[in-house]
Symmetry: C2
Subunit: 364 residues, 2 copies
């Protein structure tokens, strides 16, 4: 059955949820999205790239707004097809992808079909494989193969943000601390040097660490440094000669990646640990002072800091202000009980319609 | 080729090493040991039990001395057949089992064939599967199936002790400490409670722990408390809600197992950790004041504390004074480079001959 882009975006969300699209198996959904865009929108160039669908206008507007959402979901957990319940604050739509992020996709598809004269040029990207390893990410593929499609003055990712504009993102750096010792039989422990015991001062510094809170471009960021893995031990009767601890530092976007690494090293300074950086990604400043972004914030009535690392950073790295803005509580993403308030789907639709048309919305 | 029990016990050691007998594959060696005991000793009742061989006299002596050694070895590591080299302090015999413990077996077999009129009744037990999980231990099987064979006034295990009498043994107790927390995304670490960080004070107490040194029955024991395993972590971007630490306490035999457990709990008192005992075995007091044991100590010129847990404890649990006494440096056991000084095989043979005959030995 073809998708109806022009009806209620909550109904469209339900229709999208009812077509399973676990990562790498997005083809049936991508086919329907492509067909619907070709049939139900005007003035869009539509392109297919693998399991991604791209569409854009060329109206010659001063600014271009990019709307992007991934079509894939995590594996289904007995939560497809969608169903509706009545909650204390209104109707809820339940099912895999209702939050992450078929409700966001539905809003974008609905706007593409129903905003007749946008005041900005529009680019829509519906992509694949966001929920699996970064190397497979469809937006990454588009960035490599069709980079001109990412040109925009502001990018809006429809990731769940509970109906708030979330801007920028934290950076992340992971380090591995390795403690070394001397192996011995635990019956003669004084002949050895216990590498697990050597982690004591490291863990104490982590436990005592005071995380910084800082305002960047009007958004407040709170940092955090967390042990995320510890491992050590040879056998139940052996003093171990090695132990390792993985630490993840999430930092505000006023630090560069290099400055963040330096900060982590300074925290463990003087403990004689081998500290190796295993992974890192820079943060992104909110960048909400750019005109196209400021307009969006005004339409939504404010913005808050984004904490997690999302595809927003790809745009930030290209100098494009980017925000997350979508229906649904991000804490419900990837859970069996994933659900979204229907009213939030309408609210996000209305805000974006106001932003794209410059006109007040008649509140249904 | 049959074993020659009457020649040089170093040659006999080499012959035993040249017949592979990795745990569970002791049958060919047990066959030869049984045949040699039947053919080359007088006055012994010889019994076969699986891959174990037992022999005992019934001379009506006041006291009975039990000599026990396991026939099995750890897996061969390119170190069979045996070979000899000349070291700075005399000849060395190399090969799998030269230390652990075919040299001890050879001494016992040689004495059984060459001590014509022992002043004590003798029991010999050559058993299987000592080097693998305790449930398969041949001495344990004999204890269950032929318990009267373990009756003795003193038991000598030929485990490598570098030619010293090693008496008693440490006890051991293992506990698992479990820290709990609250899981959260590491980008919002303040919403979680990091269970790995909660190990900081536990590791500090271990690092600061002062181990006791105590004399028991004339032997000095040194205790030790060691972290032997640490594990925690959910994913690289998650504040973990659980972490666990395994601690091994090796304690002097003046503490009971229950008292040792209580001591471990007191060390971690007040940290709010869940402490579970996962494994424990009591220590054994040296018990060298019993007459048959005191004679042996006199013959060897002294005794020292045994640290590791060995089959000695089985006898101690039955109220039988028991010691380890055998050629070879225990630190070389289970190593590719396992080797024993030939002179130590002779020395142990001479001391035990003096003990069993009550006569001075002509030093070859």
């Amino acid at each position: 059955m073809p998708l109806d882009l022009t009806g209620d975006p909550a109904d469209l969300t339900a229709a999208l949820v009812d077509i399973p699209s676990v990562s790498r198996a997005e083809a049936p959904l991508a086919d329907l999205v492509e067909a619907a865009l070709r049939a139900q929108t005007d003035g869009f160039e539509v392109v297919r790239s693998g399991n991604a669908v791209l569409a854009r206008t060329r109206l010659g507007r001063d600014r271009r707004v990019l709307l992007a959402g991934h079509l894939d979901t995590v594996p289904i957990a007995d939560n497809v097809p969608s169903r509706r319940t009545e909650g204390p604050h209104g109707e809820l739509l339940h099912g895999c992808g209702t939050v992450d992020m078929k409700s966001g996709d539905a809003v974008f598809l609905h706007l593409a079909a129903t905003v007749a004269e946008p005041r900005h040029d529009l680019t829509l990207i519906f992509y694949d494989c966001e929920e699996i390893a970064a190397e497979f990410n469809g937006l990454g593929r588009i960035e490599r193969e069709l980079p001109d499609w990412l040109a925009a003055d502001v990018a809006i990712l429809g990731e769940p943000s509970d109906g708030y504009i979330e801007a920028g993102c934290q950076g992340t750096v992971r380090v591995r601390l390795t403690a070394t010792g001397v192996r011995s039989h635990s019956a003669r422990s004084w002949l050895g040097k216990n590498a697990i015991h050597a982690l004591a001062p490291v863990l104490s510094r982590l436990a005592d660490y005071s995380a910084r809170e800082v305002e960047v471009d009007g958004c407040t960021y709170r940092e955090g440094m967390s042990a995320v893995r510890v491992a050590g031990g040879v056998a139940g009767n052996v003093v171990p000669d090695a132990a390792e601890l993985d630490v993840n530092f999430r930092f505000a976007p006023d630090r560069s990646l290099a400055a963040a690494v330096e900060h982590v090293q300074s925290v463990f300074d003087g403990l004689g640990m081998d500290v190796t950086v295993t992974d890192g990604a820079p943060g992104a400043r909110p960048g909400l002072t750019a005109p196209a972004a400021a307009e969006l914030v005004a339409a939504a009535g404010g913005a808050r800091a984004k904490y997690g690392w999302t595809d927003v950073s790809r745009f930030a790295a290209r100098g494009i202000p980017a925000v997350n803005y979508g229906p649904g509580d991000p804490n419900l993403a990837h859970t069996r009980g994933e659900h979204v308030p229907v009213s939030q789907i309408h609210q996000v639709t209305d805000v974006l319609r106001r932003y794209l048309t410059g006109r007040p919305v008649d509140n249904r």
